[in-house]
């Protein structure tokens, strides 16, 4: 009897145990699935990043190399139409294109006729004549003499050397004719073609010739714009955050302000561009395309980010610090400036740097204020026309010349580099100066 009972109980227990085990198994399985979803999301994200980076890098790396051609240049006064090398006007207006043409024709003496000459001269960059001019203006004593000069090759020649133009294609589908190929091969055999690091890309402004186009103008423009943005948005943002956190009474008005700051952070950036056009350019009459206006517009855009991060940094300072300082007789302002602000500073700086990184990558608001423009000259100040890095990317991506595809990716790489450095700086500041309580 009792044994039977015991048996029954045991059976019951074992059934329960089995059920429990089964349930436990499914719970573990569920947890594993949940983790797997997480891992899959991360893998998908990483996958997209890898695809993005590989396309950019595989297309963009070739932008950092360029091809030069060596020419035997003769500074012939008759070709240049110069009789007096000390006359600046004559030097400026001389026919340097003629010198380059003569140099090419003397290298390939069997070329004659208009069409063939055009094809031949199209193999070196338009910048060759500017290079010749620079040389002669710097050294007027060269007049009448010759020298060997490395000049930039045309973008098509460069693309051929990089294998982007396929020489196996039939002539009609190729940008370089068979005739041109034979000249290029002849140069190649004579060692008169050279691959060099593309310094032009880092020192020039924009250009319509891909081989002479560079990002320096855009980098300088970005720099001026960000300086204005930083100088305005950091003090204003920090002051607003301190007042709202430490001094402002908690009432309806401050609530409304708080809600609006959060709303402002979500406003599409093009709206700030429209505002900038209406207020800064049309009303205040500031110049179009200028970094000062760009900086003002981007200030409006980054202010909410900075205020929000500065406020949370201030809030993270424990009340005990304030209480201790007050207990030692510090005034409210002393508490804030001597204790709270220094402790909150790392958090504020992090927020500011992230805001700046956002501003660096912004194009939409700049469209309205004329910073999406073709600008060759390197800007020399806050009111000179200029453009910024992401705008340069956008402009190049829309250019018909094939070589700009590589330039676009090259510029993206530079932009990504700057963004990575800024974000690393933010991480570094946080790690180094952050205090935990």
């Amino acid at each position: 009897m009792t044994e039977q009972k015991l048996d029954a109980i045991e059976r019951l227990a074992s059934v329960k145990q089995d059920r429990l085990n089964a349930k436990l198994k499914s719970r573990y399985a569920r947890e594993r699935r949940f983790q797997a979803y997480g891992i899959a999301s991360i893998a998908a994200g990483l996958g997209f990043l890898v695809i993005l980076l590989t396309t950019i890098f595989s297309q963009g790396l070739s932008a950092f190399w360029t091809t030069y051609v060596e020419l035997e240049v003769t500074y012939d006064p008759q070709v240049l139409y110069i009789d007096d090398a000390t006359d600046a006007d004559q030097l400026r207006l001389a026919d340097y294109g003629g010198v380059v043409r003569e140099a090419l024709l003397s290298r390939f003496p069997d070329v004659s006729g208009r069409q063939a000459t055009r094809e031949l001269t199209s193999l070196v960059s338009n910048s060759a004549e500017y290079r010749v001019r620079e040389r002669l203006i710097a050294n007027p004593e060269l007049l009448g003499q010759s020298e060997r000069l490395w000049v930039l090759a045309d973008d098509d020649l460069d693309l051929l050397r990089k294998g982007i133009i396929d020489r196996e294609l039939p002539e009609s589908e190729r940008r370089i004719s068979d005739q041109e190929l034979s000249w290029i091969d002849s140069w190649n055999e004579a060692g008169e073609l050279k691959r060099r690091f593309n310094t032009v890309f880092f020192t020039n402004g924009d250009s319509r010739d891909p081989e002479t186009a560079g990002i320096w103008g855009a980098v300088v423009g970005s720099f001026y714009t960000l300086v204005v943005t930083l100088l305005l948005s950091f003090p204003i943002g920090v002051a607003a955050a301190i007042y709202l956190e430490e001094f402002a009474p908690k009432n309806r008005l401050t609530d409304i302000i708080e809600v609006n700051i959060n709303n402002l952070a979500a406003v599409p950036s093009i709206v700030f561009g429209l505002l900038g056009l209406a207020v800064f350019i049309n009303f205040f009459g500031l110049p179009r395309s200028a970094p000062v206006v760009g900086g003002l517009v981007l200030t409006l855009m980054t202010l909410p980010t900075i205020i929000i991060s500065a406020r949370s940094a201030i809030r993270a300072v424990p009340p005990s610090i304030r209480e201790a300082a007050t207990g030692l007789g510090a005034s409210k302002m002393q508490v804030t400036l001597h204790h709270v602000l220094p402790l909150a500073m790392p958090g504020m700086l992090t927020g500011t740097i992230i805001g700046m990184a956002q501003a660096l990558g912004e194009t939409a608001p700049l469209l309205m204020i004329g910073m999406v423009a073709f600008i060759v000259d390197i800007p020399g100040g806050f009111t000179d026309p200029s453009t910024v890095l992401p705008v340069q990317v956008y402009l190049w991506s829309d250019s018909p010349e094939r070589a700009f595809i590589a330039k676009t990716s090259g510029a993206i790489m530079v932009l990504l580099g700057f963004l990575a450095v800024m974000n690393l700086l933010a991480v570094f500041l946080r790690k180094k100066f952050e205090r935990r309580w």
Partner: protein
Amino acid sequence: MKKTMIGATLVAAMAASLSGTAFAEARDQISIVGSSTVYPFATVVAERFGQTTSYPTPTIESTGSGGGLRLFCQGVGESTPDITNASRRIKASELETCAANGVEDVVEVLIGFDGIAVAQSVDATGMDLTKGELFLALAETVPNPNGNGLVENPYETWSDIRGNLPNTAIRVFGPPPTSGTRDAFVELVMEEGCGEFDAIASLEDSDEDKFEEVCATMREDGAFIEAGENDTLIVSRLENDPTALGIFGFSFLDQNSDRVKSISVEGHQATFEEIASGSYPVSRPLFFYVKKAHVGVIPGMEEYLAEFTSRRAIGSNGYLVDRGLIPLDNAEYARMKSDVDNLEPLKEL
């Protein structure tokens, strides 16, 4: 204490830098806005101008023809652009706006022509379409193929339109409505193509608004795909999809001849010779407009005009022709050149 000092200096510095810019000195570089089609040509001239003269390089914004003319007609003075590029002629209404805002004398400069290519991948078998067939393929409403009246576009494959065309789905990548290329394509292909059909041509007399609407509305069922302003993108899509067609400017075709080729429209390919001779039917004039009041005020205006209208720029062997511009013939060039030399303002259209 020290921190308040720093704060005060910062604020003062900001105020100083701001007030300094408010009284910025006179603008010394030319400011140009306008068409994205003329942009690749104007930038080449501007760069050369900057390199060969002592003036700074002009700044050029690509705002589209309409946007450019709006900025241009805002008034006279340093804060307004000096020149606007356009891939169509200025409209009478725009000229009126200009005059109303004090822009009295506008000099028109015709620089050349641009072909609009209908292109496909080099791997595809060539096609030869008429404007009427392009209209049938791309319009929202077309004449009913088996009867009277108009119906929503029923054509799904090219062979539906004409038996000997390929039996592939109609897929055409083209520019969005904000683009001058789209305007020109509608005007030169769609509006002319639709006139070939009696069912629509009869509308012209009875209901002109409806006629305009039928002729200018592109289909939205996925056969015509707006690919954004970026023509590079259309080229790479065509390369990946040999059955698709794309619509873009001749210079993109010229630069990408190893990837895309033009189809024939009315029996003519979009080649340099065909466009220059006027036999290729889809080409349009390119202009720029100059504010006469700014000539002599903004430094370098005369020289820029001289450079852009010189034979070495837009003559039949000029450097812009290498970039895909179709040059003017001699008589047109002479007329344009004398107008520009005398700064002859545009009277009326």
